[in-house]
Symmetry: C2
Subunit: 244 residues, 2 copies
């Protein structure tokens, strides 16, 4: 299901400056290198299952995954979209709280849980970086609660497209005019993320298209001709804070 992948030196790692290792100096990277391993998981495969044991703490190096929970009657809610540099697992806990599933082929940089916990104690730069990333995730999760609890279907879809465009852009890009992107999620995955049905999601995409706010060259390929106009639909007036 997953395959071991040759280890890449941290210096040439694509998430070197954004993952838990971002603040490490070369000595600390040495330490990380000695205990890390890589693994590649095909699209659609589970990376973790709620309630089951999680032996490793992993960072996403490439690819994309969702974190979700499914109720007994089948209702599913995605609680996080994981992109490169996001982590899976947590120190001090042996079991996963949510299901994590690869949307595309995913490459992970992994640390055995106990070894990672030791690392946290020994290398303060990893601990402080993990705290910062977790605080950011917490803010993002709370921002998302506003979307789920108070936004209309149209606003939800617009907000999703805006936030995905922002995250896929190189950090710091302004994102003013036209933007093109490929959706890593199916309609069903988008619906689960937004707390909507597939049908409502599809209808809102169609509506945004008919209103000229988005263009679709294929189901997965979206062009936003005027980023600001779509952001306005998302209820984002540009003073920041709202969008994940």
């Amino acid at each position: 299901m997953s395959k071991l992948t040759p280890v890449v030196p941290c210096a040439s790692c694509p998430i070197r400056h954004s993952a838990v290792c971002a603040e490490c100096d070369s000595d600390e990277l040495e330490m990380l290198s000695s205990i890390k391993s890589y693994r590649t998981i095909p699209a659609g495969a589970p990376l973790a299952s709620a309630g089951e044991s999680l032996t490793h703490f992993s960072s996403i190096v490439t690819g994309c995954a969702t974190m979700s929970r499914t109720l007994e009657d089948g209702r599913r809610q995605t609680v996080g979209l994981l992109l490169p540099s996001d982590y899976i697992g947590r120190p001090g806990r042996a079991r996963a709280a949510f299901d994590v599933e690869a949307l595309s082929e995913v490459t992970l940089c992994r640390f055995e849980r106990r070894a990672f916990e030791d690392l946290l104690r020994k290398t303060p730069h990893v601990a402080s970086r993990l705290l910062k990333m977790t605080l950011d995730e917490l803010d993002a999760a709370r921002d998302w609660a506003v979307v789920l609890g108070r936004m209309t279907a149209r606003e939800k879809v617009a907000t999703f497209l805006i936030s995905l465009a922002r995250r896929q852009a190189a950090a710091g890009d302004a994102l003013a005019g036209a933007v093109t992107m490929r959706l890593p999620l199916s309609r069903e995955a988008i619906a689960d993320h937004l707390g909507l049905t597939i049908e409502t999601t599809s209808r809102q995409m169609t509506a945004l298209r008919k209103d000229g706010l988005i263009e679709m060259t294929s189901n997965r390929d979206i062009r936003i001709p005027d980023f600001g106009a779509l952001a306005l639909e998302a209820g984002d007036d540009g003073d920041g804070g709202l969008i994940v």
Copy 2:
């Protein structure tokens, strides 16, 4: 608006074993004591405002507060209910991301932000405790996303009552039979927490009452005659994981 309150020794502090200081030894407590101050805020007053500067990192010692965001058109979503030992503010950021408002009179144990950031570097027990608390908050925020995104009004109200009862009970209590509690929130605050209107919230409370799942001696005083039965309405089958 808020008043300075005499400093209490950490040894007799009600949140000594659950707040950010929980893992500290006596030397570390000494350090904390030297820079802490107390403040008491009356019910209804703001503890923080989104976008405005936050000079202190504070823990709630007694009382109850909500963290929320209000959209431009007035829609409000509560993103967290803060009870004793929960914290307000974050290291490394000078501005609040959300509004925080006292529901009852609140007593805070506060640290000036820069001093607290120094403390985090110097006392690993504070840093590790803060990381653990933040990871727990993140799990809770993600759990709440499932409630907001996928539950019906009835399930939302039942889930809220169950989770409030669990949090108010002394940690570790089983909560099997009858439970009595006083709601710290108005109907409006409950509605904002659940992503519902006041009217829908009120109707669901009435429905649960008529179904014998709750009893109300006043608007704010609730008795749950059979905790398990209400938990079932909340979609909580007892195998854990779902409820905050």
